[in-house]
């Protein structure tokens, strides 16, 4: 479980996050949604410690992560997996080396064990046999899947995903969403996904946080979102004519 308490983040004079609190539970898909530039990525980076929040705290299973120094954070960090917007695979390493990288640094497993684990993770994301390819030889969707495989290689308790669908076709997008959702349940991970893709919101949005003007504007599930009377959220969700037509039929 992750708890965020009154997170503020300023870049110079630009206050991007203005006090956001919420609780992210394990085993469900927690989504952070909002328009471009609404601060979704910034909030995610504050949670994982890539940005230091200007104010507020982040608690991982009750432990205050924000107060910790670099060394103290390492044990929690090894339980964190993250999939970045453009996958962020290490491009000097093969697919297999990418997945084995955290194992090399933080476990004392033998080479065979690490290779087994890499194969298992690759199989889990339907990329068995692609071990020796380099990231430059992969398509966008494959890169995301390798990114997921690397993120789960250490069997993390927490999974963070930034815009898993950006740059992917709708079919691949749904595959990636489903994969994230399945893994979340399978390993009972606390998963936080940043997205502005309405298919994801409707498909896997168990718990949704809508950011607007740096604040938590609305919070609820995908069941509730269709019936909300929150004006800004409605404008965001039903921006497309297709979604409006779908709503009219409900």
């Amino acid at each position: 479980m992750i708890e965020i308490q009154d997170i503020h983040k300023k870049f110079g004079d630009n206050e991007v996050l203005k006090g956001i609190s919420s609780v992210f539970k394990p085993g469900v898909n927690n989504l952070i949604i909002g328009g471009s530039g609404s601060g979704k990525t910034t909030l995610l980076k504050c949670i994982v410690g890539l940005h230091e929040p200007s104010e507020g705290d982040v608690l991982f299973n009750g432990e205050n992560f924000t107060d910790m120094g670099f060394e103290q954070r390492v044990p929690i960090r090894t339980h964190i997996g993250m999939l970045f917007q453009n996958s962020a695979l290490f491009d000097s390493m093969t697919v297999e080396e990418n997945i084995m990288f955290p194992l090399n640094l933080f476990t004392s497993q033998s080479k065979a064990e690490k290779r087994d684990r890499a194969n298992f993770c690759l199989e889990r994301v339907n990329l068995a046999g692609k071990n020796k390819l380099f990231p430059s030889e992969l398509s966008g969707g494959m890169k995301k899947r390798v990114g997921i495989a690397r993120a789960i290689s250490m069997q993390p308790k927490y999974l963070f995903v930034d815009e898993p669908n950006s740059g992917l076709d709708p079919v691949t997008s749904i595959l990636i969403d489903d994969l994230i959702s399945e893994l979340t349940v399978e390993y009972n991970m606390t998963t936080v996904v940043v997205t502005h893709d309405m298919n994801s919101v409707m498909g896997i949005g168990d718990h949704i946080l809508f950011l607007h003007q740096g604040k938590k504007w609305w919070e609820g599930s995908n069941k509730e979102i269709a019936h909300t009377d929150n004006k800004e959220l409605n404008e965001f969700v039903f921006a497309s004519r297709f979604m409006r037509a779908a709503k009219a039929k409900l």
């Binding site: 890539l50 970045f84 290490f90 990288f101 640094l105």
Partner: protein, 243 residues
Amino acid sequence: MIQSLGRYILLLRLSFRKPEKFQVYWAEVMREMVSAGIGSLGIIMIISVFIGAAVTIQTAFQLISPLIPKSVVGGITRDSMVLEFSPTISSLVLAGRIGSSMASQIGTMRVTEQIDALEIMGVNAPGYLISPKVIAGVTMFPLLVIVSILLGFAGGYIACFSSSEVTTHDFMVGLSDGFNPVIITVCMVKAVIFGFIITTICSYQGFYTKGGALEVGQSATRGVVYSCVMILMFDLIISRLFL
């Protein structure tokens, strides 16, 4: 300026924290050494032979007086190569070759979030990325400079062989006449310090890249330019201190 210097020193301190796992870092050090050392051997060999030959010919041209023994040409070539041309010119060339590739490699990792990915895992990113490069720099530069000196002498020999002003015998005698070992010390100190300057400045520029591909290119350029200026400045300081 002061702020940049502070950030630079802070980054260096972070780079030399205790590694998470020694073997992984060691593998990186080896990789960087091969890439910096073997990778630069070709260019160093070519420029050193040319410089050695050119210095010999120019020195011979300046010493046409019959009062000066021809072997002095060898001595002057030796001192110029060891003190200045091999360490300094090689380093300026290596700044372009090794430094720019280090800055753009780290810069690309920054803008494509690979550095964030390292940090998320709990890896000390400066340590993992920068320390192997610095270690490779300060160990491989002296070796490259030694190669450069030897090939510079070979270049001088070839120049004497193919012209009539100075005989190869005179040149060889000159190389060993009046040899003062302090020049080797100065040369090695320069090589180590220049290796450190190039690898740290270029890594720093890469590490704090913001933006995209364009900025990566700018970081690499800045890394090379600053390295070159600092090399020439420290060239003067070291020469002043030791000679």
